[in-house]
């Protein structure tokens, strides 16, 4: 008899998604994967546009991480023009970005993943919603939302008012920081510094409680994979540095500038999804890998700020180095929130932020590749620009696409621990959703998906549909 299980929907993740679980005739798991519908044609509309517009237009493709695209495009243009951005330009970009990371991680931890953290793996789906969490602890929720808002305010003050940042351009930042704005930024950074320790402790406390309640999270939900992250001087670096590939034992296997990404990362098409799989290509072999907060801490020694480094030591005490516990993505996100708050304060205090922020740029024709560590992982922009400054081809490699292989592995693990031999559909739905959300996938640029966001889990056995389980929010 076949088994088809449909989960509908995966809430709190942007995108349409379908999960399939194929069981073999003997009932063991044969394959599992997330099927997504890609937003098609985005790179094509960039062709023929002026290269100068890339930071503006790519920031508009995704409402979730506009600042990451804004800066990845800027870096690619710097590379194409062969310019070095002056120190103040780099610092302002970094400050803009710290605001974005604070905003994005606060949203992920406390809003999108909050219900998982507060209520756990086996909570009644009806109770597992963010409104319930807010009601249960309004004071903490207020602080978490305030943290999110302050991050966004920093992002907007440096990036320009409005939904999408506009100030980063080829060659630097088209914005001069005056004393009044700097005073405001210092005020917001100080408020964040006062909020962050309590918020980080709260999120960590919830996570540790889940680990206690569900020992399987530490034992079964473990994915030994390679890790890809940006490192500079041994530290996690979100905006500049070499890409490092660290294997499942923690050994550094490759270190390369982003301009070599095309030789180092291999895309392959699967017949069941629009999204391509990406693997690290190394000495003739291909390796599954992860990107994002956990991958970043697995690639670097530390952050270089005291609170983040202290917390990273605690993570390693629990999860080892490298850490392959999937749910520790959340822990690493907590640490990056601390880091971004600390780093924002450092940048605002740095006198170098007041210097010239931009150098003139001229495109002489050629290729430009740039990247950032987006909240969810490495984001690469690659443009071919002609001598008139017009984009002739474009390629964007986004984080969720790179995590696709490991997301699928996590789904298989969730299914193995919650489906095989068990008839409990509610537990399956919870486990699959919980597993996917550990990656905080944003499917809106990797793929697209607005609309009802249905996640279906289709379970088949021996190729025949077995059962369909649907859950509706209401």
């Amino acid at each position: 008899m076949n088994r088809t299980i449909t989960i509908d929907p995966v809430t709190r993740i942007e995108g349409h998604a379908r999960v399939f679980l194929n069981l073999a005739e003997d009932g063991s798991l044969a394959s599992a994967g997330l099927v997504v519908n890609e937003l098609r044609g985005f790179e094509r509309i960039l062709v023929g546009m002026e290269a100068d517009r890339m930071p503006l237009i790519t920031a508009r493709i995704c409402g979730v991480c506009p600042a990451a695209h804004h800066l990845a495009a800027s870096h690619a243009l710097d590379n194409a023009a062969g310019v070095e951005v002056p120190p103040a330009g780099k610092l302002l970009r970094e400050l803009l970005y710290m605001g974005h990371i604070i905003h994005s991680h606060a949203l992920s931890l406390f809003v999108l993943q909050g219900p998982d953290l507060a209520l756990g793996l086996d909570a009644d789906p009806a109770a597992r919603n963010v409104v319930g969490i807010v009601k249960a602890n309004p004071e903490l929720a207020k602080k978490a939302l305030r943290c999110r808002t302050l991050g966004q305010k920093i992002n907007e003050l440096v990036g320009g008012r409005g939904v999408h940042p506009v100030t980063s351009v080829a060659g630097g930042i088209a914005f001069v920081l005056d004393a009044e704005k700097r005073r405001i930024l210092a005020e917001w950074s100080a408020e964040l510094a006062a909020l962050a320790p309590e918020l980080a402790a709260a999120a960590k406390g919830l996570l540790l409680k889940q680990l206690e309640l569900h020992p399987s999270l530490m034992q079964d939900w473990v994915a030994p994979l390679w890790n890809l992250g940006t490192v500079k001087d041994g530290r996690v670096s979100l905006l500049e540095g070499q890409l490092c590939a660290v294997d499942e034992t923690g050994a550094l296997r490759a270190e390369f500038p982003v301009t070599e990404y095309a030789e180092r990362l291999a895309e392959s098409v699967v017949d069941w999804s629009y999204m391509k799989e990406v693997r690290i290509s190394h000495e003739g072999e291909r390796y599954d890998y992860r990107v994002g907060p956990l991958a970043r801490v697995n690639c670097a020694d530390g952050f270089g700020t005291p609170a983040a480094d202290a917390e990273l030591a605690a993570l390693r005490g629990l999860g080892g180095r490298p850490c392959h516990v999937t749910v520790f993505n959340t822990y690493a996100r907590v640490i990056e929130l601390l880091y971004a708050v600390e780093r924002a304060q450092e940048i605002v205090a740095d006198q170098a932020i007041l210097g010239p922020a931009r150098v003139p740029v001229r495109f002489r024709g050629g290729r430009g590749v740039g990247h950032v560590e987006a909240p969810r992982g490495t984001l690469i922009h690659d443009y071919e620009i002609d001598e008139n400054g017009i984009v002739r081809s474009a390629n964007l490699i986004v984080a969720t696409q790179q995590n696709y292989v490991s997301i699928n592995r996590t789904i298989a693990q969730a299914a193995a621990s919650h489906v095989i031999g068990k008839g409990d559909d509610a537990a399956l739905l919870n486990a699959v959703e919980f597993g996917i959300r550990c990656y905080d996938p944003c499917l809106s640029c990797a793929t697209h998906a607005l609309g009802a966001m249905p996640l279906e889990v289709v379970v088949t056995r021996g190729g025949r549909p077995l059962r369909t389980v649907r859950r509706n929010e209401q």
Partner: protein, 178 residues
Amino acid sequence: MPNQRESPVDPGARAAALVACIGNELVADDAIGYEVYQRLRRMALPGETRVEFVGVGGLALLDLLKGDERLLVTVDAVQLGAAAGTIHRLSWDELPAAAACAVSVHGIGLRETVEIGRILYPELIPPVIRLVGVEGRCFDRMRAAMTPATAAAADGAAEAVRQLITTHEVQSDGYGTA
């Protein structure tokens, strides 16, 4: 949330309207919120009305509220199963939760956003909340693939927003009925 305010606005002074248009101007039918935004900006709207474009919306909506609004209208693409281009005028009771509604804002829908706002910042949340939703069909292609019927609904949706503002400007008993 957002903006910490020292002196909440006297509820009696709530006279303004906020129109928040949600969407992505680059993506097929998701561009409808932006199209309606462009039309509303050029229209003469009654009273003290602010029109904003907010991209993915969600919790960012709370940042836009000043606490002096009588009415919040959000404009968004929806997928409620009607024909493309259908203009839905939904009251609070009819607002779909994120899962059932189209354009999710990274998982947090209008309904959840307002519920969170009512718990944490009750003084900010307007008494009357409406959604003008335009039925879309295509969300996985770029703007050139916008469904003609959805695009053609932009004028009607803008007019629906104007009517809502007019209605709630003259109604003095709109409180508590959201």
